[in-house]
């Protein structure tokens, strides 16, 4: 057999004394789809970046990389520039930051073309138009700017820029992680179609074993800088390797809920909440007069966990801010523990705040980078009346950290010096420190790999039980809804379109939107049962809509 398109041998990446990638071997044939799966911090992104010879500052890279019969690792920077974008292209996780906000989308795609070929400006724009059409943005004006696009559309533009010159190899680094399930499925479908049409090879880097299993010809599982298992999707899924087993189990975490009949009056009640951005100034909201939240009502009892499921842009985060009293209501009321939270005086509202605490999504934006963990976790303690003496504050902080399974020495570190999973635990500790009755989680597990996600969910369940608190989980992640919630509300375009007990809704969704969401979710069981043929060999998932 001829030499594979890409061959990586003994790749090592080190930062000082710490080795992040420890001898990785990979091969990828022409037209093949290889899934590189691992938890965050396993070195999978570094591996992809090293293939392009774009490691972060301070990294030492060793190992042999051969591409299309020639060595890549000995090429000079000039020659590498000719390879990047032309022969090997890359798409990144976060479409919001991967695109230049001041450049029109047409120009961004045309840029790739103009760097590598000597075509005229108008010819480059023509290629940009064709490429955007190919990625499913037919009719999208070339002069649109990234901020006018949805997350999924932005990712399509990023893909268009990557494939404009029909590269031989595409590196896709967590390209769907920031997207909801429906959009994710469409983007994956698009990537596979492009692979088929152009005979391109694809290295799909993801923490999502289920996703990779559904699309890749072969999967390599990475753990702590090494590839521990490699083989076909089914082989990998059936592998007895303990890490793979853990990944597999965490991909569909078992329900940790304790369904009980709601008793007494609700802890949190929302009645007909409306928030629209129609009267805001230009630029403050999406075009049109869309109501971000439209007549949403919900109740939450002690001990209960309710999920709000919806795509990005469905109004979930706005709903959450309304519930927290952090945004003005246009209409409706929020009741918290028998008091009209949204109507009481500011002083009373402040007093009530200790009963409802949020856990936010973004593990970077959630913490002031200049504050120590102890100070961050202690912040909500200001809500308590009378104020706690300093020694007791410190004790409360350490107790909260211990509850979420963090060692006390984390307290004096800064948020950038802890891992993503630890950051999410800190966010949880910050909410728990005042012993609230209601916890609201805004996509609190979205940025985590599956194993960490399962740990955080377990932690949440025990803490909730201990406080006899109620939880509201806002997410686009079906696995979280399935594992952690008793009831679910499905939200689309600001409205609740379906609600009911989680099991009932997920097993027999009535609303077409819920059905689409469910159909779009990657499913490990189905892969194992052979129900989903690997799409790069024809077939493929049924198209959505």
């Amino acid at each position: 057999m001829s030499e594979p398109l890409l061959q990586v041998e003994g790749l090592r990446v080190a930062f000082g004394a710490v080795e992040a990638v420890r001898g990785v071997d990979l091969t990828l044939g022409a037209g093949e789809v290889l899934g590189l799966v691992g938890a965050s911090g396993s070195g999978k992104s570094l591996t992809a970046l090293s293939i392009l010879r774009l490691p972060p500052n301070g990294a030492r890279v060793q190992g042999r990389i051969r591409f299309d019969g020639g060595a890549l690792d000995t090429l000079g920077e000039r020659e590498m520039c000719a390879v990047r974008g032309r022969e090997i292209a890359m798409v990144f996780q976060e479409p919001a930051t991967a695109l230049d906000p001041v450049m029109s989308i047409g120009a961004q795609v045309a840029e790739t073309v103009r760097i590598h070929t000597r075509v005229s400006r108008s010819e480059a724009m023509r290629i940009a138009r064709q490429t955007l059409d190919r990625v499913g943005l037919e009719g999208m004006a070339l002069d649109r700017r990234p901020h006018q696009l949805s997350g999924g559309q932005r990712q399509r533009v990023a893909i268009a820029a990557a494939i404009a010159l029909k590269p031989r190899l595409l590196l896709a680094d967590e390209v769907t992680t920031a997207l909801d399930a429906v959009t994710q499925a469409r983007i994956v479908e698009l990537l596979l179609r492009l692979v088929r049409e152009d005979g391109m090879s694809l290295l799909l880097v993801s923490h999502d074993l289920a996703l990779a299993a559904g699309v890749a010809d072969r999967i390599a599982v990475m753990c702590e800088g090494e590839i521990v298992v490699t083989g076909s999707a089914v082989e990998v899924l059936r592998s007895a390797h303990p890490y793979v087993a853990a990944l597999r189990e965490a991909s569909s975490p078992a329900p940790v809920t304790s369904i009980r009949d709601p008793v007494g009056s609700p802890l949190l009640e929302a009645k007909g909440l409306v928030r629209s951005y129609a009267n805001r100034r230009v630029g403050a909201a999406a075009p049109g007069n869309a109501a971000a939240v439209d007549r949403v009502s919900l109740t939450l009892h002690a001990g209960e966990t309710v999920g709000v499921l919806g795509e990005s842009g469905a109004g979930k985060s706005t709903l959450l801010r309304l519930l927290l009293g952090l945004e003005r209501l246009d209409a409706g009321e929020v009741w918290l523990a028998g008091e009209a939270f949204s109507k009481v005086s500011a002083a009373r509202q402040r007093r009530l705040r200790a009963r409802i605490q949020p856990v936010f999504q973004d593990p970077y934006g959630s913490f002031d980078p200049r504050w120590t963990v102890a100070r961050l976790v202690a912040e909500p303690l200001a809500l308590l009346e009378p104020p706690l003496p300093p020694a007791e504050r410190r004790a409360r902080v350490e107790a909260a950290l211990a509850k979420v399974g963090l060692p006390p020495d984390v307290a004096d570190r800064f948020p950038h010096a802890v891992s993503g999973g630890q950051r999410q635990r800190i966010a949880l500790a910050r909410a728990l420190v005042v012993r609230p009755q209601v916890l609201v989680l805004d996509e609190a597990t979205s940025a985590l790999d599956v194993i960490t996600r399962a740990e955080i969910l377990k932690l949440l369940a025990t803490q909730k039980a201990e406080l006899n608190a109620a939880c509201l989980i806002v997410t686009h992640d079906l696995a979280v809804i399935r594992a952690a919630t008793d009831r679910v509300l499905v939200m689309q375009a600001g409205r609740i379109v379906e609600q009911g007990e989680t099991q009932a809704v997920l097993s027999a969704p009535r609303h077409p939107y819920t059905q689409a969401l469910l159909a779009a979710a990657p499913d490990l069981e189905a892969v194992l049962a052979g129900q989903i043929p690997s799409p790069s060999h024809g077939g493929g998932r049924a198209p959505l809509r």
Binding site: Q357, D368, E379, A382
Partner: protein, 271 residues
């Protein structure tokens, strides 16, 4: 992490240090008293005894240039403090309150922007009488909107982050969040803008002094040295050369420092 490779920072810091050291040194030692007149040696060209030559009154050029650094730094520094002192709270307020407070501060900024520093200094001179304070007020008031806008833009971005939301959920008000979370995270852009603004202030101060709207004689000042040198340009070109070079060093030093700091902080942001 790697301070090397940031040539602007090193060069800028070196020039600014030189400037400050010179100004401090001039407080305790100059080759001759900066204001001593000695008609006998007037318009002496540079020589080992008078490295920068002497002016029309026989004052030592080097001593005057050294003492002039003091005036330049004092006036520019005070002006920038005025700009930061008023502009930063305005920017924080605008970002924290939005709505009418934002409109008001930003329209006020636009209004002040419409008046050049020179005009403001003339206005100040007309009411206060000529003096270094005019230059401080003129340049300082002019830089208020600059700092207000830098702070507002940065603060709006920080307010949109989850930690500002978390602080609000912890019951903290706009003022406390501004002081505890927003301002400390804006120190980097403020330092960059401060250095750049200082370089502009040095030029503005020299310009105002040239017109007689800054420190008054006999206090030495680079701008006035230039003004005095103008009529004697053909006879004594060194009189213009040295204060001119001093202004260039100061402006370049602060600009490079600002640029170096910007690169440094951007590098941090990426890490």
């Amino acid at each position: 992490m790697r301070a090397s490779g940031n040539a602007p920072l090193i060069a800028g810091a070196a020039m600014v240090t030189l400037l400050i050291a010179t100004a401090l040194l001039s407080l305790i030692w100059t080759p001759y008293p900066a204001e001593a007149i000695n008609i006998a040696i007037r318009l002496a060209p540079p020589s080992p005894a008078h490295l920068f030559g002497t002016d029309a009154y026989g004052r030592d050029g080097l001593s005057q240039a050294m003492a002039g650094a003091r005036t330049a730094l004092l006036v520019s520094g005070a002006a920038c403090l005025l700009g930061i002192g008023v502009g930063t709270p305005l920017g924080l307020l605008a970002a924290a309150r939005r709505g009418w407070a934002d409109e008001l501060t930003m329209r006020f900024s636009d209004l002040v922007f419409a008046f050049p520093a020179l005009l403001l200094a003339v206005l100040a001179a007309a009411t206060l009488g000529p003096g270094a304070l005019d230059a401080v007020i003129g340049i300082g008031v002019y830089s208020i909107p600059v700092f207000a806008k830098v702070v507002r833009t940065g603060a709006l971005r920080l307010w949109s982050l989850d930690y500002a939301l978390a602080a609000r959920a912890a019951g903290k008000g706009g003022l406390r969040i501004s002081l505890e979370h927003i301002l400390p995270n804006l120190l980097a852009p403020l330092a960059v803008q401060g250095a750049l603004q200082l370089s502009l202030a040095v030029v503005a101060e020299a310009g105002l002094a040239y017109l007689g709207l800054s420190a008054q004689p006999p206090a030495p000042s680079w701008g006035r040295m230039l003004a005095d040198a103008q009529t004697l340009y053909a006879q004594a070109p060194w009189l213009a050369l040295f204060p001119g070079a001093a202004i260039v060093v100061a402006v370049l030093g602060f600009s490079l420092l600002g640029e170096g700091l910007r690169r440094r902080f951007e590098g941090e942001g990426r890490a």
